[in-house]
Symmetry: none
Subunit: 371 residues, 2 copies
């Protein structure tokens, strides 16, 4: 008899199963409605020997030594450092905006003035928000803030979250960074990389344990009658509103579609990810061979189209932050606890939080420690 | 009957055997616990025809004409000039910091100011320490010193020596150099190179002498009973605390692990050695095909992880300088002399000094001259 049922075989579910198996000596049944393990981290090698992230680019980055060391038991790492370019005014410009972006964007006299003012006012190496620039009341810096807001932030955010500018919380401007350095990297974490043989291989290695049983093509609805009223623990990484048949209404989610294209050329674009804030309806294009430096004469990219989640039409990918939605999520969680007893929620969908992968793993650590 | 037993078949042991054979006309037994000659200089050609340094990158460089000429009897040299890049703020920057590094790191107005101040104050072509920069009380130069300290020196040193910043001797800042020139080389010695066919071939050639007998897979413990009480001379290049069964406690050593990876691409990184002061747990990545310009469609690198030496777990690689450790080493040496009579200590481990290869050879010259 299994002691735990884990719904969803992404990184959260897999780490949970492994910890229960090793540290608690408990058996788990791990199910996933999809035909594969890995959840949204799922990747596979295509006929070009390019490792494709089926649900969009996943780049691991963390400052949590414990998470890094835990995952390193199951994979080697390729020390990929993520760079993102924005296609802005016809140029590929480093994102977040930094001193290199300024040099590429503006004429020399203006770039120089901006560089000097940024370095003198904020210090070389600092990270500031465009909100701080605006507050500076220095005309040049306000101009720079407005340029970044309009060209880098606004269009991307509208596509990503499906909101009109007037509904954007001004607080988000606090989170639009400018780097007063020439560091083109997207992340500044100590540990960054891609599993040397892909995420699926890493997760498969985690699941190789005699106390873990995996069933793909199996949804919670397929098995729930078997466990109702039993005292198995449930770890649920899916949408909690679906679990309770949307009884309090739908939670809002964003959904993401990847349109894959293959090209008969070595490279499509100059970096793994290029953002398109202004043009087209996709937010970004990811080119997969960059992540593991796959050698291939052809290349594969995906165009990423976000949209609202609609039941029956697409899959929820991540939560939409907001007081109302978090309140509704808590209501669902409480009702689910009443109904199922030992149920725990994990992952982006279960916890209704826009976790990075490392935070999802750290959350599993804290949930299992509290058992 | 042999006249000398030499323990350890690295560069120190091999030069000792050759000098004893040629200049003294004496026979030596040269033993090594490992299955190969060469000690930590050991290299080999892999299936890609890339010459791999099994125990990490070895680059020969010296100003000692006598050492250079001596070794040149046993090998031709490939005139490799070593360059090291630091992966700092997302860029590959020449290490030690020089005027090129400054150009790459800072915005133009600041780079220009730093260049001018360095050249005017210290003179073009000079070598200064970041300690001198700090003392200058010129704000820009103090800023530069702090940048180098934080970004280049601190993280690397912590990983390399396993110490926290507060335990770092401030005197080490005297040894962190800045070059007021555009010379990207790591060393400034007159003679620099890699043995044309590798270190193992050079050492094998040295050992080709009728008065030298080599036994690998043979430790001192395997043979010591044979020689105890005899009047053979012992030349010992291993750890002296192990020789005396750690009777006064363990000497501290650092150990180094090389994690090798092969990639199906021509090059992995833009130089033979890239330091990672800030990211990851390894200190550096070495790419071996650079040293002899091996032509191969694939490439082999090693990630270098330093750690404390732990008896039975890993091998000692080099000593940890410090008053206490040097005092303990002297105590061991004196006790060993009392016990074994004619015993001499050589090499990084035997002498407990962080010798470069040329200094290890020079030390053999002076020890054999004093016989």
């Amino acid at each position: 008899m299994v002691r735990n049922v884990i719904v969803g075989c992404g990184i959260s579910g897999a780490v949970t199963a492994r910890i229960l198996a090793e540290q608690f000596g408990e058996s788990s049944l791990l199910i996933d409605a999809r035909p594969h393990i890995g959840g949204n981290c799922y990747d596979f090698y295509d006929h070009n020997h390019i490792c494709i992230h089926k649900y969009g680019a996943h780049i691991f980055h963390t400052d949590l030594r414990r998470v890094w060391e835990y995952l390193s038991r199951f994979t080697q790492w390729y020390p990929y450092m993520h760079k993102v370019l924005g296609f802005i005014d016809g140029q590929f410009v480093p994102i977040p905006f930094n001193l290199n972006s300024i040099r590429m964007t503006f004429p020399e006299f203006l770039a120089r003035r901006l560089e000097e003012k940024l370095v003198i006012r904020f210090g070389f190496g600092s990270r500031i928000s465009i909100q701080e620039l605006r507050k500076s009341e220095e005309k040049d810096l306000v101009f720079l803030a407005n340029h970044i807001y309009t060209k880098v932030f606004l269009g991307y955010t509208q596509k990503q979250w499906g909101v009109t500018p007037d509904k954007l919380d001004p607080a988000v401007l606090e989170r639009v960074p400018v780097y007063v350095s020439r560091d083109d990297r997207y992340f500044r974490n100590r540990w960054q990389g891609i599993p040397r043989h892909g995420y699926t291989a890493m997760i498969a290695s985690m699941l190789e344990h005699p106390r873990i049983t995996v069933k793909t093509d199996t949804s919670w609805n397929d098995v729930k009658e078997e466990f109702r009223g039993s005292d198995v623990r449930i770890f649920y990484t899916g949408p909690v509103d679906e679990l309770l048949d949307w009884r309090f209404g739908e939670l809002p989610y964003r959904s993401v579609r990847q349109d894959f294209h293959e090209f008969d050329r070595e490279f499509f674009q100059p970096a793994a990810v290029v953002n398109y804030p202004e043009n087209h309806d996709f937010t970004r294009i990811s080119e997969y061979k960059y992540f593991l430096a796959d050698q291939a004469s052809r290349t594969v990219v995906s165009f990423e189209y976000p949209s609202a989640w609609k039941r029956g039409e697409n899959e929820p990918a991540y939560p939409v932050a907001g007081e109302d939605s978090h309140r509704l999520h808590r209501q669902y969680v409480e009702a689910a606890r009443e109904e199922y007893g030992h149920i725990h929620f994990l992952g982006r969908l279960g916890d209704y939080r826009y976790y990075d992968m490392d935070k999802a793993v750290a959350r599993v650590f804290s949930v299992t420690e509290a058992l």
